[in-house]
């Protein structure tokens, strides 16, 4: 990993130079929410956000996405038109370590075995620039999964704000390509900055709620039935918000839109395993008929299934589901229940 720095007063000009060459997606403030959006002016970028309302996953896996256009003449002649291949590169800036890790957790879902063209193309064309956290929120618990709030893992380039400079870590060849394209980083000895980064890491780690996952996977490996699922299901409204704000949830539905004159399109959109009809079949059989099975499925997915399948965490401790749940269902309390054998 090559390391250098950029002075604080040079950061916006550098981002401006990136903006000149590529569409730039970065956290901005809108209606009181921080969101990843394409920025018009780099001055709109928010650098000290806590956590964005929504994770950056929709950049690769949009909430609603057209798969192809359909021209259908009474089922006697069909023409399908797929969207143009994505050729333009873009830059995603300002991603915190938990969200970086979540992109890595989504990658094998979409890119291995039947690679998903729609996801893969966007992923291949995106430079990801990470940004270390400088303060933690009460809902943060990334360290439970071995993630540091200053980790560069998953970023092509990673920035950490330290005094009047940003430490710049170029983590991948793709990052090197972007640096070559948009110069501005000073590559010289950064030992002092690295030491400062270590101090920052310790400070932010100290602010993060400590959650110990020891033994959780083992309990779930052995126990499908636990009373806690019924307990938490009684609170759950089945609204699905936890799955929508989750950076690693990837469920989707596929539907056809039909304009009525034979022209339509097939699209996919985010779906949620918390919805009662998610697994209900045409004949009426539903393998997860009550909220208990659905709540269990979601948390098992986060804490066990994703690990079993991809050997990658299914939760990154971003805390969005904790923030947004209208019933205060808190995965940290569920973890504690599992550990307590409740």
């Amino acid at each position: 990993m090559r390391k250098g720095y950029i002075s604080k007063d040079k950061l916006m000009p550098w981002l401006g130079a990136i903006r000149e060459k590529f569409p730039l997606i970065a956290p901005v403030q809108e209606d009181g929410l921080s969101l990843f959006k394409e920025v018009e002016k780099v001055e709109d970028i928010v650098l000290d956000y806590g956590i964005t309302r929504m994770p950056p996953k929709d950049l690769f896996f949009p909430q609603t996405e057209k798969m192809f256009r359909i021209k259908n003449k009474n089922n006697m002649a069909i023409e399908l038109e797929t969207p143009e291949k994505i050729t333009d590169e873009l830059v995603l800036f300002g991603v915190h370590s938990c969200d970086l890790k979540s992109i890595l957790a989504l990658d094998p879902v979409f890119t291995t075995r039947f690679p998903d063209r729609y996801y893969q193309e966007r992923r291949d064309k995106t430079y990801v620039i990470g940004l270390s956290c400088t303060k933690a929120l009460p809902t943060c618990f990334c360290t439970a999964y071995g993630i540091n709030p200053t980790d560069a893992e998953g970023a092509d380039i990673h920035l950490t704000e330290l005094g009047d400079k940003y430490l710049v870590e170029v983590a991948t060849d793709r990052g090197e390509r972007l640096i070559a394209e948009v110069p501005g980083v000073v590559f010289e000895d950064v030992a002092t900055l690295e030491a400062e980064k270590e101090k920052l890491t310790q400070k932010v780690r100290g602010e993060i709620t400590s959650v110990d996952l020891t033994g959780v996977k083992e309990v779930l490996d052995e126990n499908f039935e636990l009373p806690l699922w019924e307990k938490w299901a009684q609170k759950c409204l089945g609204c699905g918000i936890c799955t929508y704000v989750c950076p690693t949830c990837h469920c989707f539905d596929i539907n056809d839109f039909n304009r009525g004159d034979g022209v339509g399109e097939r699209f996919r959109c985010w779906d949620s395993c918390m919805f009662s009809d998610f697994t209900r079949m045409a004949g009426g059989h539903n393998p997860r008929p009550t909220k208990k099975e659905r709540v269990r499925n979601r948390f098992m997915h986060k804490l066990k299934y994703h690990l079993d399948r991809y050997n990658l965490v299914g939760c990154v401790g971003c805390g969005r589901c904790v923030q947004r749940c209208p019933e205060n269902i808190d995965i940290r309390a569920i973890i504690s229940d599992i550990k307590g054998g409740v």
Partner: protein, 280 residues
């Protein structure tokens, strides 16, 4: 051409529609681009996504054996929105097909063994792909005796009557048992549920593999009966039906534990089934 976009269906034309029962029809289909047959190459037990454009997609098991080339058959029961629409469609009409998806019946492991097929209702559709594969002249010598036990609610609800009563019983080393749930006028065959008939026949487990597909309740009791008769967990093969959308292990709908039925199933041995959480 196959892998560039696995979510894009191939266009196919319905060439023939066979009325099986009051609510099941078999649709014969051919790809409009014959080269697709070269890449499609399904194995017995696999499924496909059938598109009615403007309506949507449904996961349907492939009924025809890969030994019958140049066309595909899907036997579809009218149970929902899409299947109701396809039941209105006829020869010449266009559909989409993508796949084949899922694993397949372990026909290599079955070589040299006697086979017992146990089907209920539309559950005979996926079994038929393997039955015809095994009975095809080029494969027949690889397998021992073939027994087929099949039941439906009534005589009218029996699928593939031409196979059950004409085709399969005439093949060498093959025996077909047919039952219906309740007695009815004009039926002089067996009456009773499939698991009970199975216990009545009491087939010897020695050197035998059973392959079961049917409604979840039938599968449950058939598996119990087979264990009681002394079949080991590896001798019992079944297929699971779960709601699937993408077919390629991404949409998250058909998971049972950490397995996705669309890529890790739909075929499981009883040994594998017992390792899964009971959510099917």
């Amino acid at each position: 051409m196959a892998l560039e976009n696995p979510l894009l269906p191939y266009i196919a034309t319905i060439t023939k529609v066979i009325d099986e029962t009051p609510d099941v029809k078999t649709f014969q289909m051919v790809f409009d681009d014959p080269e697709v047959f070269e890449v499609f190459k399904q194995k017995p037990g696999q499924v496909a996504q059938i598109s009615i454009f403007g309506v949507g997609e449904a996961t349907i098991s492939i009924t025809s054996s890969p030994t019958r080339t140049g066309m595909l058959e899907f036997s579809i029961k009218k149970v929902g929105r899409l299947t109701s629409v396809i039941h209105q469609m006829g020869p010449g009409m266009k559909v989409g097909i993508r796949g084949p998806y899922g694993n397949h019946f372990p026909y290599d492991m079955m070589k040299g063994k006697d086979l017992l097929f146990i089907g209920g209702g539309i559950g005979l559709a996926p079994l038929r792909s393997l039955i015809d594969f095994v009975l095809a002249p080029e494969n027949r010598q690889d397998y021992g005796k073939v027994e087929i036990l099949y039941g439906a609610r009534s005589a009218a609800d029996l699928c593939f009557k031409y196979d059950l009563f004409d085709n399969w019983p005439k093949k060498p080393g093959t025996k077909v048992y047919v039952t219906i749930d309740r007695p009815e006028e004009g039926w002089d065959g067996h009456v009773g549920f499939v698991p009970a008939y199975l216990e009545e026949i009491n087939p010897n487990p020695e050197n035998k593999v059973t392959i079961t597909c049917g409604p979840p309740i039938m599968i449950k009791f058939v598996l119990q009966a087979l264990e009681k008769m002394g079949y080991s967990e590896d001798q019992v093969v079944t297929t699971l039906e779960l709601k699937m959308k993408c077919g390629i292990g991404k949409c998250g709908r058909c998971n049972i534990g950490s397995k996705f039925v669309c890529v890790d199933g739909p075929v499981f041995t009883l040994r594998e089934l017992k390792k899964l959480p009971p959510e099917f």
